[in-house]
């Protein structure tokens, strides 16, 4: 990460924040929906793409953040409720990560799936904290003594937090901790041989990933004004996983691109489909087109959109974008253009 890449990212964030602030509510909604999804996708990419820990509990972790922020916000914590959401997400993520100290690969993934279902169930029965199946109605976020009510303001807040998240994670990727994640991902045996405390490294990944998942949930609660158990079920985990696969595993900018793709593509297909005569057809077409495109990506470009863009650029004589955080790997390669993490899949 160079100064130039930070400046480009800051300029882009400022441009989108301004766009969100000046645009209509619908566009502001789309901007913050993408930004919030991107924060969640980056947190998931940290765990799966960088540290190689496959998890299916992302939806539930976002839910933990949403309920934490909702309760803290309703209790008058203001902006600190978002930090509280992050902390709750981190603690919960650490708990989910405990089995990772003993389990690996698919076995660990299944344990996270169990955690997803347990948390989903807890959201329904922990009445005092979650208001059960009715969902927790959340008051607007209060920042600097002022209630944030408009979609445009939420767009600015979400873009700002997205930028800060990117900055933090991109910087982290260049530290010893970030490099340790990559070594653990590639081979725990090698990591141990290099003197890396694998358990501690994994736990750090879970804590950090959980923090940002909680933050994502907090923003989701304030923008939708309702934390509802049905919103944090396995489907959300699947959506988030789709974002990092489409965008690019092990790539922060890929997470953002994936979030844009997964959030906006159904809307784009919907608008095109509205030109068709039947409403049933429109919806069916949207679902099928979305699913079909995901399959196409997996088949044709498993490294994600970011890799595709890079290849196109190099084919047309362009140079690598310096905005992409370049994560050093052992051997000098980059984390975001390496072979897929998922074992057994050919790139």
């Amino acid at each position: 990460m160079t100064k130039r890449s930070i400046l480009i990212a800051a300029a882009l964030a400022a441009a989108f924040a301004l766009l969100g602030y000046e645009s209509s509510r619908f566009w502001a909604y789309l901007i913050y929906a993408v930004a919030i999804s991107a924060i969640g996708a980056m947190s998931l990419n940290l765990l799966i793409g960088f540290c190689g820990q496959i998890t299916f509990a992302q939806g539930a972790l976002i839910g933990v953040g949403a309920y934490a922020a909702g309760n803290l916000g309703n209790a008058g914590w203001g902006g600190f409720s978002l930090i509280g959401a992050g902390v709750c997400g981190a603690l919960c993520s650490a708990l989910i990560g405990l089995p990772a100290l003993r389990l690996r690969g698919l076995y660990f993934a299944i344990s996270t799936l169990a955690a997803q279902f347990i948390l989903s169930y807890l959201f329904k029965i922990l009445q005092p904290l979650t208001n059960g199946v009715s969902g927790l109605v959340v008051k607007p976020l209060v920042l600097f003594g002022r209630s944030v009510a408009s979609d445009q303001e939420y767009a600015v807040i979400a873009i700002t937090i997205l930028f800060l998240t990117w900055l933090f994670l991109a910087r982290l990727a260049q530290t010893d901790v970030g490099r340790a994640f990559l070594v653990v991902r590639e081979s725990e045996l090698v990591a141990r041989g290099m003197g890396i405390d694998v358990s501690r490294t994994k736990m750090k990944a879970f804590l950090l990933s959980g923090f940002f998942a909680g933050l994502c949930g907090g923003l989701l609660a304030f923008t939708s004004r309702l934390a509802n158990p049905e919103a944090f079920e396995i489907g959300l985990s699947v959506d988030q996983t789709a974002m990092i696969i489409v965008g690019g595993l092990g790539s922060l900018s890929g997470s953002i691109v994936g979030a844009i793709f997964v959030t906006l593509l159904p809307e784009a297909i919907q608008r095109i489909g509205e030109l068709m005569p039947s409403a049933d057809l429109v919806s069916a077409f949207r679902e099928m087109a979305f699913g079909g495109l995901i399959i196409l990506f997996l088949l044709l470009e498993p490294r994600g959109l970011v890799s595709l863009a890079r290849r196109l650029r190099s084919r047309w004589g362009g140079s690598r974008s310096s905005a992409e955080p370049q994560v050093a790997r052992p051997g000098g390669a980059l984390a975001n253009d390496v072979e897929p993490v998922l074992k057994g899949r050919k790139a």
């Binding site: 199946v133 919907q270 049933d280 429109v282 919806s283």
Partner: protein, 388 residues
Amino acid sequence: MKSRLIGAVIAGTLALAAPAKAEITVCAWGTITGPDALVNGMTYGTRDYLEYLNQSKGGVAGNKIRVLMLDGRYKLDEELKIYRRCADQEQAVVINGWSTGASKALRDQIQEDGIPFISESFASEVLDPQKYPYTFIAGPTYEQQMIIALRDLVAKGGKKVVLMYSDNEYGRGPVNVVRHSGIIEKLGLEVADLVEYRYDAQDVTAQMLRIKSKNPDLVYVQGSTPQLLVLLRDAAKAGLPARLFVSNLYNISPAIPEQLGAAAEGFRAIQTYSFYGSDIPAMKEIAAYGAKNEIEKKDIYFIKGWLKGKVIAAAIEKVINDNKGQVPTDIKAFRKSVREAMEGLKDFDNGGITPPFTYADHQGSVQARVAEIKNGQYVPVGSWINAR
């Protein structure tokens, strides 16, 4: 020839001088695809009524209605997005929304935006004309429907009731409200058991055996058609007759007798609107529309949708007439006037879909009766009761 030419010129000039008719946008979203798509006739019905007016009367007070029907997929984020599109991009004068969750999440926003909003939810939580003056529903609440079933049980001398509900807000919410209201005890009934099931359950045999051991006089189910199909199938397996079960309006679905056959005979549901195909003036309109267009949903939910279309059209027409035949140019003022016109509907004749109603309570008709499946058809088995 000369006089004809002069006449044509005058007519042409008048036509050009006449104010251009405005297009009015109404937004209706429903679960076009999703878990409760079986009842989405409610959205089709509203769209089709307004299209019927466009085709037969040139719209409302001569102004075409642009109906935008969208798929909320029963997903909160999708519904929130659609709301913003309708309110902001499409400048809809009225919005017809869907789920209880979205109606709750949006209820403050709706009041701030000042947009008349008709929710498909019957949850009492979204109904409060003082607190939420822009939110309307179209019939008795789930709680009122449940109370009608309980009163019916009392009238028949029953004593013990089991309350069965899905493990989501739609299931638990109304059951909790009725239980804590004390009305069950007031009616002299005993709650023999409370039985919860997963909303996507595929087997409830264990729950049915538990109910059988309680020997109730009635099992009230707060659920939807996909769940009732599983419930009644497993009830038959456990030896519980369908006549023991009663549920709300969202279970007057042809799918139940069609798919379950004899196992559905005797099942009862609360009817709040006339059946599709009944001998009412509104059906003549539907038939006229159907002669030129394909009606995709032919059920009681379509009838509910037709009713909402009538309410929306009547309110818009009143506002235009009060504004000397012009569509108000300020959308905020237009929306506010439509809300007031909706609230002001008095003894509203809706073509026999319900008895004439007054909409000041934001509910409209609260008349309901019990309908039973006999020979594969839903048949009314009681007279209309005021749910209030």
